[in-house]
């Protein structure tokens, strides 16, 4: 009936990417998205983003996906 937790998170991160789309190239947008997620998302929400990436992250906007990868690289 309602969006799942992960669906909501995907929608959120894609929205962050779209609203910052004019910040520069994909990498620059991804930096902003990654910075935003790092600053505002909880540990569990970040974990779910990484789960989504591990599953291919196909629903993610390209800049959001790149942001997720950058964040994952920082953590590991």
């Amino acid at each position: 009936m309602f969006q799942s937790e992960q669906e909501h998170l995907i929608q959120m991160i894609n929205q962050i990417a779209l609203n910052n789309i004019s910040a520069g190239d994909e990498s620059a947008v991804a930096d902003i998205v990654a910075g935003h997620v790092k600053k505002f998302w909880s540990r569990r929400m970040k974990g779910q983003l990484f789960d989504c990436l591990a599953a291919g992250g196909e629903q993610l906007h390209p800049a959001a996906k790149l942001a997720g990868e950058k964040l994952r690289a920082q953590v590991s």
């Binding site: 309602f2 909501h8 959120m12 609203n19 505002f40 909880s42």
Partner: protein
């Protein structure tokens, strides 16, 4: 500054005429006493400042001098006649005599005429003991009335008792016009006039109607201004005169008006706006002045209650048992599901100290950062957007600053309804000649301000704010209206260059966005020019900006406009968020958000975190916790199991009600602390009685960052102030908290929060109020921010791409619903619905444009089913041209209306602030309530029964 705090003034005295703001002094002599006063001060006020009291009736110091009663006549050396001291400006070298035989005779003669047409029922009159006419009769030594009382008179004039809060007894009127002037000068409504001439002159409301039927907004300014018993609070008529007063702060909107609670023992007789209040200067609205009866309403929760499951009756228990039950449940849940499985919500209605303690409880006793606040659903984009651009999450001005504005741009705000006292101040400035631009889908009342000069309405489509703000900026840049000097000296070069390139793009031109906004390019260009060319341009905005999927972008776009035109850092300009609730600013300041400690210090900032860890003696998580919508998602998925909610009704106020209800039902333990069995409490396992603002000590911080004292005037109805309950819960959880008074909590806040470092209760007593930042650099606070620099050094222009909401009208849902407040009710209505404010608005109505109504065969009063992709509800129809075709509007003050059953989960990209202002809907005539409304009624009846079975008397829960 426009209003200096003047410790020499006694705010309980009436100086007769308003203060002059002139800095030039003139010296005169009154009854042989030499006194220097600002040029423009009246002789009456000058005398009062020298403790010489000239008799007066039509004069009062919050109204311009009128000079009608003549009782204040004085003699001035070298001048003919006996001029009225209220209308005579003090001049250098003037020699004034206020008492001599000639003046005494004149005054007695005047009083004799007044009293010859006045009932002599002083002993049974409600104004007995507080009547200026009585006082003046005494002051002038009136001993006889030679005219008798048999002539033509007004002694049988009828009473108007139509208003639930005050009575108009025309037989006692002396036609001094104070009420008429208060209605026009102070409130700005112009509902009252003097009708007729000479002896037939009388005060009338509207077109000689009852007060209730007229355009009177029941602000009470007339009642306060009346020198006799003509306009009198019904509570005073019933209870008699108060015997003591306590100055405190209103608990309704973000204006934060100061009031004198006039008391009889522990009973509030009336609330009188306090002249010494820097936010309101002695004015108020119908809510603050009159709607306080909820505090002693029979629906108040008077004892703690617990239950194992939400389908069980409540069990009334002791505080100790309830706290113990809650603590045990929380511990068990954390033991089984982990540290992060619990969280809490602080309240923007509670005090700074209480909010601080709840977030501290969560970060210490709960051991996580799962704290959020109702600011999430109103002004979280303000916090984000202003921090990004200006470096501080707060508005830049005082309210008084508007009196220096030349052009006022109001975006997505309805101040005359939602922030009425500021609305009146703004109207005063508009009457003085400032121009007005309103960008709003609705034609708001501000546009109908009497004596309004230049004004324009940009009736933009819901969801197009960013396109509008960008278009305004595009015009400013392309037409060379920028303030180059300000930009060069105060703004970051790189960010500005990027923004300039972005905004110059033709896609932001008014002509290019006409299709999006629905507003003609010509009108947008005119508005941009008016704002940018005005010597002082000020922007005021509200939830019509923030509650969108691009709310944060619009806030940043607004900051861009102010920066580009240099409208920052002085009186009359600025970026002014009109905060929704009384302590939204404070709840944000106090670290309620999951990513920030008090003072907006990020949890990942090791140095800041270290200070809190040292003071609190615990390790604080360096990762942000969950926001409210994320708590709901996690609850439904089973990872979030318990919540402590203080003073917020998330089940009514948050969007997509059915989603919220499912989340609340999923919790193993919901602890609600509130003054009533609100909608959220119906899903609770522990119900802890809350205390109203009248029952506790603390501070609120208003929309101008003003920290004001809240003072206890009566004992808490259930024995505890809210902060005491949090302390006990913390202690029961094993994290010791020891405070004996909220002042000690403020001391801790000051020690840990740089912007509050200089705040203490002693200093608040000394100065009345303080606007943060208040610290070593600004020992008595900072009224106007960013005067010389920004907290981030240079201001940052932000790129503000317009991304349309996914919530668009389509064939299935062809209309856009937007929501808002009405003057007489307040948010979820828990307080105002339990007062006589119900006479103005006892149900939420759907306003429909005649075009849309005609297409659907809708008439006024029809029942309408409103369906969105989230749900359906049913409301009654009102045909209205306030919206444009295609847009429908409702309020959300009554829980059974289910306005939030239809709002969706869409939210601001940066903060998750819900998109209340745009919901695609279909509207059709129906004959019965929606399914949700039926189940709401069933559950309501069940839960009220559970409450009755607990032994608590509950009525009104129909």
């Amino acid at each position: 500054m426009l209003q200096h705090f003047d410790p020499t003034l006694d705010h309980n005295r009436d100086y007769g005429t308003p203060a002059s703001l002139s800095e030039k002094l003139v010296t005169l002599e009154i009854d042989g006493v030499e006194i220097s006063v600002p040029e423009g001060t009246s002789v009456m006020r000058a005398a009062a400042l020298a403790d010489i009291n000239i008799p007066k009736l039509c004069a009062t110091d919050n109204l311009d001098a009128f000079g009608s009663c003549r009782i204040c006549a004085v003699q001035i050396e070298g001048r003919r006649g006996l001029p009225a001291s209220c209308t005579t400006p003090a001049e250098a070298g003037m020699k004034v005599t206020t008492q001599n035989d000639k003046l005494a005779k004149l005054r007695r003669n005047i009083m004799e005429l007044y009293i010859s047409d006045h009932p002599l029922d002083c002993l049974t009159c409600p104004a007995n003991g507080d009547c200026e006419l009585q006082d003046m009769a005494g002051a002038v030594g009136l001993r006889e009335v030679r005219y008798g009382f048999d002539g033509e008179n007004h002694l049988d004039a009828p009473k108007d008792t139509s208003n639930p809060y005050f009575t108009f007894d025309a037989s006692k009127c002396i036609v001094c016009s104070r009420c008429v002037r208060a209605c026009s000068e102070v409130q700005g409504t112009f509902a009252l006039t003097i009708d007729g001439r000479g002896f037939d002159s009388k005060v009338v409301a509207g077109q000689d109607e009852d007060f209730l039927d007229s355009e009177c907004v029941s602000c009470g300014a007339c009642v306060q201004a009346c020198p006799t018993a003509t306009l009198m609070e019904n509570s005073v008529i019933e209870m008699g005169q108060p015997e003591h007063s306590v100055v405190t702060t209103c608990a309704y909107c973000g204006v934060g008006c100061s009031f004198k609670a006039d008391m009889k023992g522990d009973q509030v007789v009336r609330m009188v706006p306090y002249k010494g209040g820097e936010a309101n200067h002695g004015h108020s609205c119908v809510k603050g002045r009159f709607a306080f009866g909820y505090a002693t309403h029979k629906d108040r929760i008077r004892a703690p209650m617990i239950r194992d499951a939400i389908d069980q009756p409540w069990k009334e228990v002791s505080w100790e048992e309830a706290i113990g039950f809650a603590a045990k449940r929380l511990k068990e849940i954390q033991a089984e599901h982990g540290r992060e499985s619990v969280g809490g919500i602080t309240s923007s209605r509670c005090t700074n100290e209480e909010t601080y303690l709840v977030q501290k409880l969560i970060r210490t006793a709960f051991g996580n950062n799962n704290t959020d606040t109702c600011a999430r659903v109103c002004h979280s984009p303000t916090g984000f957007g202003l921090k990004q651009t200006l470096g501080e999450s707060a508005g830049t001005q005082t309210f008084d600053s508007v009196m220096k504005a030349d052009c006022v741009l109001v975006i997505g705000a309805n101040p005359t309804d939602a922030h009425p006292v500021f609305g009146s101040l703004l109207r005063r400035r508009l009457r003085e000649g400032a121009s007005l631009i309103v960008a709003d889908p609705r034609y708001i009342d501000l546009l109908d301000t009497p004596h309004l000069g230049d004004s324009m309405h940009l009736p933009l489509r819901p969801g197009s704010n960013v396109a509008m703000v960008n278009a305004l900026a595009h015009v400013i840049v392309t037409e060379g209206l920028e303030d180059g000097e300000f930009i060069a000296s105060r703004c970051d070069d790189g960010a500005y260059a990027k923004w300039r390139e972005f905004i110059l793009d033709p896609r932001h031109a008014p002509e290019a966005v006409e299709e999006i906004t629905g507003v003609s390019a010509e009108a947008v260009r005119a508005a941009a020019r008016a704002y940018a060319k005005a010597p002082n341009g000020a922007i005021y905005y509200g939830l019509g900006v923030t509650e969108h999927s691009q709310g944060s972008t619009t806030v940043m776009g607004i900051a861009n406009l102010a920066l580009a035109t240099g409208n920052i850092g002085r009186d009359g300009v600025g970026v002014n968020p009109l905060r929704g609730q009384n302590n939204v600013q404070g709840s944000c300041d106090m670290g309620s958000f999951p990513h920030e400690l008090p003072g907006y210090q990020h949890v990942s900032d090791a140095a800041a975190r270290g200070r809190f860890e040292a003071a609190w003696g615990v390790q604080i998580d360096d990762e942000p916790g969950l926001r409210i919508p994320n708590m709901f998602d996690a609850a439904i998925s089973g990872h979030f199991r318990a919540m402590y909610v203080q003073g917020e009704d998330i089940a009514q106020s948050d969007p997509n009600t059915q989603h919220v209800e499912e989340a609340l039902r999923s919790l193993d333990c919901l602890i609600v602390q509130d003054i009533f069995l609100n909608e959220t409490a119906k899903f609770a396992h522990v119900l802890l009685p809350g205390s109203t603002f009248l029952e506790k000590n603390g501070t609120f911080t208003n929309a101008e960052r003003r920290i004001n004292r809240v003072r206890k005037v009566m004992l808490p109805i259930a024995g505890k102030e809210d902060w005491e309950v949090t302390v006990e819960l913390s202690n029961a959880l094993g994290y010791p908290m020891n405070y004996s008074h909220p002042s000690e909590i403020m001391d801790e806040i000051a020690a840990l929060t740089p912007s509050f470092a200089g705040v203490s209760y002693d200093k608040l007593e000394q100065h009345g109020s303080l606007q943060w930042p208040c610290n070593a650099e600004n020992p008595i606070g900072m009224p106007i921010m960013h005067v010389e620099s920004f907290p981030i050094g240079k201001a940052q222009f932000a790129i503000t791409e317009f991304v349309a909401t996914t919530e668009r009208a389509n064939r299935r849902f062809p209309l856009l619903l937007t929501t808002g407040r009405i003057l007489s009710q307040y948010n979820v209505g828990a307080q105002t619905r339990r007062t006589d404010n119900q006479v103005w608005h006892d149900e939420d109505i759907l306003e429909v444009h005649p075009h849309d109504a005609e297409e659907r065969g809708i008439n006024d009063g029809d029942w309408l089913g409103i369906t969105s992709r989230a749900g359906q509800t049913v409301l009654r129809a009102r045909i209205s041209e306030r919206m444009q075709p295609g847009v429908v509007y409702t309020t959300f003050h009554h829980p059974g209306s289910g306005a939030n059953v239809i709002t969706t989960d869409n939210s601001d990209w940066a903060t998750n602030c819900p998109e209340y202002k745009v919901t695609a809907v279909q509207v059709e005539k129906v004959s019965q309530p929606s399914q949700w409304q039926k189940s709401f009624q069933d559950n309501n009846q069940r839960q009220q029964k559970f409450l009755r079975e607990a032994g608590t008397v509950v009525e009104g829960g129909k």
